[in-house]
């Protein structure tokens, strides 16, 4: 059984009278523990595909499955629960909550998931340690560099021990050294913890290390899939 499976996914938008087809009949499957890079030119539908895989967006047509279960028609509450417990998200612009400390940012999804205080504390410390941010746990995002914020965001994505990490251009806002560190960290998450990693990226560094590369062109899967 595949971890994620998309079958005939289409996504269209309306822009005035024009219909834009962002994704056109995408069918693919991703296995447990895979490291998949989604690449393609701007506007090719990479982020849309990732949003649909992560249940942040809904397809216009087609089916999607998580561990064999059809999640296309799930209600808002069930989808929230799925995102909370099974998916972790890392964004290009980090998107940490500015009024919370690094520690609290990592802790928040656990609170939502109902993890007990003691267990939360242990896991937050462990995760911040793992991303090399334990010394800056009490700092707010505004007091951290871009690379540091992204490392906290990775710890946050891992907080509820998800099955999949979705990362949208995670190195896009970072200089090459910081970008390399973040990429190493994500690869470590994939290798050491066996988490499935789906990264949308233009970065050749990312595509060169990914186990599989999915290339999108005009909303369609390009034949040169590795």
């Amino acid at each position: 059984m595949h971890l994620l499976e998309l079958a005939g996914i289409c996504k269209t938008y309306r822009l005035g009278n024009t219909e834009i087809r962002a994704l056109d009949n995408i069918s693919l499957s991703i296995g447990e523990g895979e490291f998949v890079a989604i690449t393609g030119p701007s506007g090719s539908g990479k982020s849309t595909l990732m949003h649909i895989m992560g249940c942040v967006d809904t397809p216009t047509s087609g089916k999607q499955f998580f561990r064999g279960r059809d999640v296309s028609g799930l209600g808002s509450g069930a989808v929230s629960g799925l995102r909370l417990r099974q998916f972790g998200f890392v964004f290009q612009q980090f998107y940490l909550l500015g009024s919370l400390t690094a520690y609290e940012n990592v802790e928040l999804p656990m609170i939502e998931a109902g993890v007990g205080r003691r267990e939360r504390k242990r896991r937050v410390q462990e995760l911040l340690e793992a991303v090399g941010m334990s010394a800056r746990a009490k700092h707010r995002p505004g007091q951290l560099s871009g690379g540091e914020q992204q490392r906290v965001a990775i710890a946050r994505a891992l907080s509820n021990n998800p099955s999949v990490i979705f990362a949208d251009e995670p190195t896009g806002e970072l200089d090459s050294a910081a970008g390399r560190k973040v990429l190493d960290l994500l690869m470590d998450v994939n290798r050491r913890y066996g988490k499935t990693l789906v990264i949308v990226s233009h970065d050749p560094q990312v595509t060169s290390v990914a186990g599989r590369v999915i290339r999108l062109l005009d909303g369609r899967l390009s034949p040169d899939v590795r």
Binding site: V56, S80, F91, E112
Partner: protein
């Protein structure tokens, strides 16, 4: 965590928070002050009410409102004779004409202050609201005797003028003529703290008539009487006037309470709307600035309920801050108004702060906070995650 998050968001949006808190504070303070004035009016008028009064005889065209608001437009004439007629009715146990006027009073060498003067016939009416047995019974001056110059004051007047039992005070219908006004001796100071904060003086009606120019025609505002089942006889005695029985008075009191209640409800409604509008506006502005943050929270799996909880906390924090600011502002406002009323009219105790009114003001602010969290929640629900997350 959501409460902490909400508190930090509110504290970090300094300008927006300050504006909302101030606006809610002003709305709450207005509500509290209006309530306080209503209560002050009730307490002030309470000096005139007494459960043992069975009948009120009001002049033709008069209304129950005249019981507390004295007017020159309609008055009863020949009230001593009429009162004598009432007392001759079998079953009537007491009756007195009542003349109400705002007068100027002062202690020698002091500035005049406005006080509420009530002229009655002591001894004719055993259950008068004020215990007036210290005054010489009857109305000697009316009967051709000497001007007694006796007054009973309440503790508010005593404090206002700085006089006590045995002291003398001047009383006149205008502040300018106070020095040449009549001198009166305080024969008793009574406590009205439980039901009135209005400065009151009670004296023989004919002496008040003399001071106010109502002696000619022997005029008074109304006559009160006690007795059982004498309404019909009173009505036949005063065919052109208004005779209110207990039921009429109860209806009047109910109507008055209803009007006060309606005023309070209207003020509460306005306060609620103003507060809710400000909270909603500040929250919607905040949400438009934090669209990405909220979208990320939702993407992470934070439920709608938790987002709603966070927004509710933010609204409640704003409304509580506004409510407490309103209480502080209302004390400040009350102080300013009391100072102004005393400076201009020599009146004190026009507003009465009661903890229930303060609690009501705070409750209205909190309800506004709860109500207004709905609008930002709808705004947060409209955020399209894929569009905001890019």
């Amino acid at each position: 965590m959501y409460a902490k998050l909400a508190l930090r968001e509110v504290l970090e949006r300094r300008t927006g928070t300050a504006l909302a808190v101030l606006a809610i504070g002003i709305a709450t303070a207005s509500l509290i002050l209006l309530g306080s004035f209503s209560l002050g009016l009730r307490e002030g008028s309470a000096a005139l009410y007494d459960d043992t009064v069975d009948y009120w005889v009001l002049p033709e065209g008069g209304s129950a409102q005249d019981l507390i608001v004295n007017t020159e437009k309609t008055m009863l004439g020949s009230v001593h004779r009429s009162t004598g007629d009432i007392l001759s009715i079998p079953g009537v146990s007491g009756a007195t004409p009542v003349l109400n006027r705002v007068m100027y009073a002062s202690k020698a060498g002091s500035d005049p202050a406005s006080i509420f003067a009530i002229g009655i016939i002591p001894g004719n009416f055993s259950s008068a609201p004020f215990q007036v047995d210290a005054l010489t019974p009857g109305d000697p001056y009316y009967a051709g005797g000497d001007f007694t110059g006796e007054v009973i004051i309440n503790d508010v007047t005593s404090g206002l003028l700085g006089i006590d039992s045995g002291d003398y005070m001047n009383l006149n219908s205008s502040g300018a003529g106070i020095v040449s006004g009549r001198h009166f001796r305080v024969v008793k100071v009574i406590s009205t703290q439980e039901y009135s904060t209005t400065p009151v003086v009670v004296l023989h009606i004919s002496e008040l008539q003399e001071l106010t120019g109502n002696r000619q025609g022997d005029r008074a505002n109304y006559i009160v009487a006690s007795g059982k089942d004498v309404g019909g006889q009173l009505r036949s005695l005063f065919p052109g006037d208004t005779v209110l029985g207990s039921a009429g008075y109860v209806a009047y009191a109910f109507e008055k309470d209803r009007k006060l209640g309606a005023s309070g409800a209207a003020a509460a409604g306005v306060s609620l709307v103003i507060s809710a509008l400000f909270i909603s506006t500040v929250m919607i502005l905040s949400i438009s600035e934090r669209q990405k943050e909220i979208a990320v929270m939702r993407a992470m799996g934070i439920s709608r309920g938790s987002v709603a909880k966070m927004l509710l906390f933010e609204s409640l924090i704003l409304s509580l801050l506004g409510g407490f600011t309103g209480i502080l502002l209302s004390f400040l406002g009350r102080g300013l108004i009391e100072w102004g009323m005393y400076s201009l009219f020599g009146m004190r105790g026009v507003a009465s702060m009661h903890y229930l009114i303060l609690l009501f003001g705070l409750s209205v602010a909190v309800i506004a906070g709860m109500v207004s969290s709905i609008v930002p929640f709808i705004a947060a629900e409209r955020i399209r995650l894929p569009e905001v997350l890019g």
